[in-house]
Amino acid sequence: MDLSLSTRTVGDRTVVEVGGEIDVYTAPKLREQLVELVNDGNFHLVVDMEGVDFLDSTGLGVLVGGLKRVRAHEGSLRLVCNQERILKIFRITGLTKVFPIHTSVDEAVAATD
């Protein structure tokens, strides 16, 4: 399965819905999408990972890169994920301390700190 990406605006947040597999082959597409959003002035991003079947360290690298970009503009990057096998990768790498991880898009959009 390939990577699917769609974006929508909710208030001042931009929600990026990601589906499929984020790996060394598909991660560049996600990177391009995040870079484009930031370049267009969207600094508060919510990445919805509920449709993601697979995530590896390349994907983590892209998310960390996205976080660095939005932070440069005093923005935010929040994740939505309830899948244990995806959450496990964030825990192993210590990135649960870096990303705010929410259980729903509504919760992520409403979050302020």
């Binding site: 597999e21 790996d23 082959y25 590896d56 690298g61 990768i89 192993i92």
Partner: protein, 143 residues
């Protein structure tokens, strides 16, 4: 001899194929269903690292994956042909991109976090990551 051997051109699009084959052979070998996600991720990380080493080193040789069924274990070996210098010899700015180094280390961090039994070796002819998981004999799963 390996149960299944795979050689693929060092291109990102083939890493997924390696993951799928490894998971299928691991399942057949009796690796617990709950662990198959870890096998898939670990072999993907090892192959991603090998592809990146081949690409950055301009190496045209394929990446090798050996899937080995043993009596009570299942092993995966991922081999690359990128020659290494000792870590201490790596000079910053000597052509090795720092971002590549970071991603390489993140991949290894994921592997060592996921797999209890892992050996990483590297020499002048390339590197090898060997990962081993226990298997459950078929008859034991019936009880």
């Amino acid at each position: 001899m390996a149960t299944v051997e795979l050689r693929f051109s060092a291109l990102p699009e083939h890493v997924r194929t390696a993951r799928l084959v490894a998971a299928a052979v691991a399942r057949r070998a009796g690796v617990d269903e709950a662990v198959l996600d870890e096998v898939r991720l670990a072999v993907g990380e090892a192959c991603t690292r090998a592809v990146s080493l081949h690409q950055s080193g301009g190496i045209t040789a394929p990446v090798r994956v050996a899937l080995i069924e043993e009596e009570k274990a299942f092993s995966i070996e991922v081999g690359d042909e990128a020659p290494r210098v000792a870590p201490g010899d790596r000079v910053p700015g000597s052509g090795v991109d720092d971002t590549d180094v970071e991603e390489d280390e993140m991949g290894l961090a994921v592997i060592s976090g996921l797999v209890d039994d892992v050996e990483v070796s590297a020499g002048e002819h390339g590197g090898l990551i060997r990962m081993t998981w226990p298997t459950t004999p078929a008859e034991a799963t019936l009880t």
